[in-house]
């Protein structure tokens, strides 16, 4: 998982709503709705800005929320990427 570079699917049509630190993301392609906490929402927004491998995404997300870059964050991002792949929101970036 280390070196794989991830990106948001190029054709993904995402619509955001945010209230008091909670985010709702509507993924129009699949019709799914996701209720996210700030950590998950920030990570997806970071990935939208630029493809990244899991370690880089952990650093960018943690720094955005001024959280430590620790094992908990790394595990969190790795699991998030796996889930986003299953949901069809994220893909392994074409090399």
């Amino acid at each position: 998982m280390r070196k794989t570079v991830w990106c948001v699917a190029s054709d993904a049509r995402l619509h955001w709503r945010e209230w008091d630190g909670e985010v709702v993301l509507f993924h129009e392609n699949s019709g799914n709705i996701h209720h996210l906490n700030l950590f998950a929402a920030t990570a997806i927004r970071q990935l939208l800005e630029a493809p990244a491998d899991s370690e880089t995404l952990t650093e960018r997300t943690a720094s955005k929320l001024d959280l430590p870059v620790d094992d908990e964050a790394r595990d969190g991002i790795e699991q998030l990427l796996t889930r986003l792949k299953t949901l069809g929101i994220a893909r392994v970036a074409p090399s």
């Binding site: 392609n29 699949s30 019709g31």
Partner: protein, 360 residues
């Protein structure tokens, strides 16, 4: 020909007629078209021609509802195709789409406002087990838990039991041939595979050739013995041939190919009903050559009266008292073509004992 069904057939032939209908005409038309799964096709057509506003308000509500459904179904099929690709790309098997899903992927007019039930795909028979396992690992599970159904599908049918995605509840039919293996006619699936066309850049998403697309739909309609969507299938084929007819040698290739795949019988009935019900323009030369072909299987003069009733019997107002019998006889024929007689009777008995419709 029973008069009740005219409103749909006439509207298919000349959509302009819709605008001259009054409220009571619409009352019958909406119900007939809905039952034939064609209402969304008319709704999308009127929307695209900018004519929805000239339809009475109370009727327009139903047409707008059907447009929303049609747009949704196109999104859903596109999303499903993407999900199936993810599973098949992982094992390096190209995805060959059939019927409705193919029309969407190839952006054909036949997809416009079409209603879908499942996504049909064609895979090489040799890799069937791998495909089923790859789909399993991506969340598709076989619905038919009943051992008899599993055996029946795998032994006698041209597809494995339907697979349902456990989270999205959508269904795939995985075919390894376009006509049941044991059918007395043997169109060779490899011929179909080699002539598929890519619809995307990396050539992994494919559809059948134009002629094969029409012949597959014709085989499904006139061999399988299932007529609840007959008119929708005929409209599909009408849209396909009108679109492909602009290709130089389309009609000749279609006839040659039908003979090569032993599907000239179903093609004969398809051309007959396209011309009779939908007024589809077909070159006279093709009609004559098809008429001249020997009628393999049951004589045409036996089957024609059955098809006449079965094809349009989608609504009480269009079917006479013989329609039910006609459809049943064609259902039996569908199975007769597929299974040896000694298996046919027990199979039909089993099916009728478990008939799904609301028996007591």
């Amino acid at each position: 020909m029973n008069g009740g069904c005219d409103s749909i057939l006439r509207a298919l032939a000349d959509p302009g007629l819709l605008l001259s209908m009054d409220l009571s005409d619409w009352d019958l038309f909406i119900r007939q078209a809905r039952r034939a799964n064609l209402l969304s096709r008319f709704a999308v057509m009127l929307r695209d021609q900018g004519r929805l506003q000239s339809v009475p308000a109370r009727v327009r509500v139903h047409l707008e509802s059907e447009c929303a459904l049609a747009d949704q179904q196109k999104r859903v099929v596109e999303w499903e195709i993407g999900c199936i690709r993810q599973a098949l790309d992982a094992i390096d098997v190209p995805l060959v789409l059939l019927k409705g899903a193919a029309y969407v992927a190839a952006a054909l007019p036949a997809a416009h406002g079409r209603r879908f039930s499942d996504v049909d795909i064609l895979v090489p028979r040799a890799r069937l087990a791998e495909v089923e396992q790859a789909l399993f690992l991506h969340g598709w599970f076989s619905e038919k838990q009943d051992a008899y159904d599993q055996k029946y599908y795998r032994k006698w049918m041209h597809e494995i039991p339907p697979l349902r995605h456990n989270q999205r509840r959508t269904v795939i039919d995985v075919h390894h041939a376009i006509v049941p293996r044991t059918m007395r006619l043997h169109p060779d699936p490899d011929k179909l595979m080699t002539s598929t066309r890519a619809v995307d850049e990396d050539e992994r998403l494919r559809v059948l050739s134009p002629a094969d697309m029409v012949l597959h739909s014709a085989a499904h309609l006139f061999l399988d013995g299932e007529y609840s969507n007959a008119l929708r299938d005929l409209v599909d084929m009408d849209q396909l041939v009108r679109y492909f007819a602009c290709q130089e040698e389309f009609w000749d290739v279609l006839l040659e190919r039908s003979i090569e795949l032993e599907l000239d019988g179903p093609l004969y009935y398809t051309i007959h009903y396209l011309r009779k019900l939908l007024g589809t323009p077909v070159p006279g030369q093709l009609v004559e050559r098809l008429d001249g072909r020997p009628a393999g299987g049951l004589p045409r003069r036996w089957l024609m009266p059955l098809f006449d009733r079965a094809v349009i019997a989608h609504h009480p107002s269009c079917s006479d008292h013989l329609a039910g019998i006609a459809r049943w006889m064609l259902y039996v024929r569908g199975h007769y073509l597929r299974m040896p007689l000694y298996l046919l009777v027990p199979h039909l008995l089993r099916k009728s004992l478990r008939a799904p419709s609301g028996e007591a």
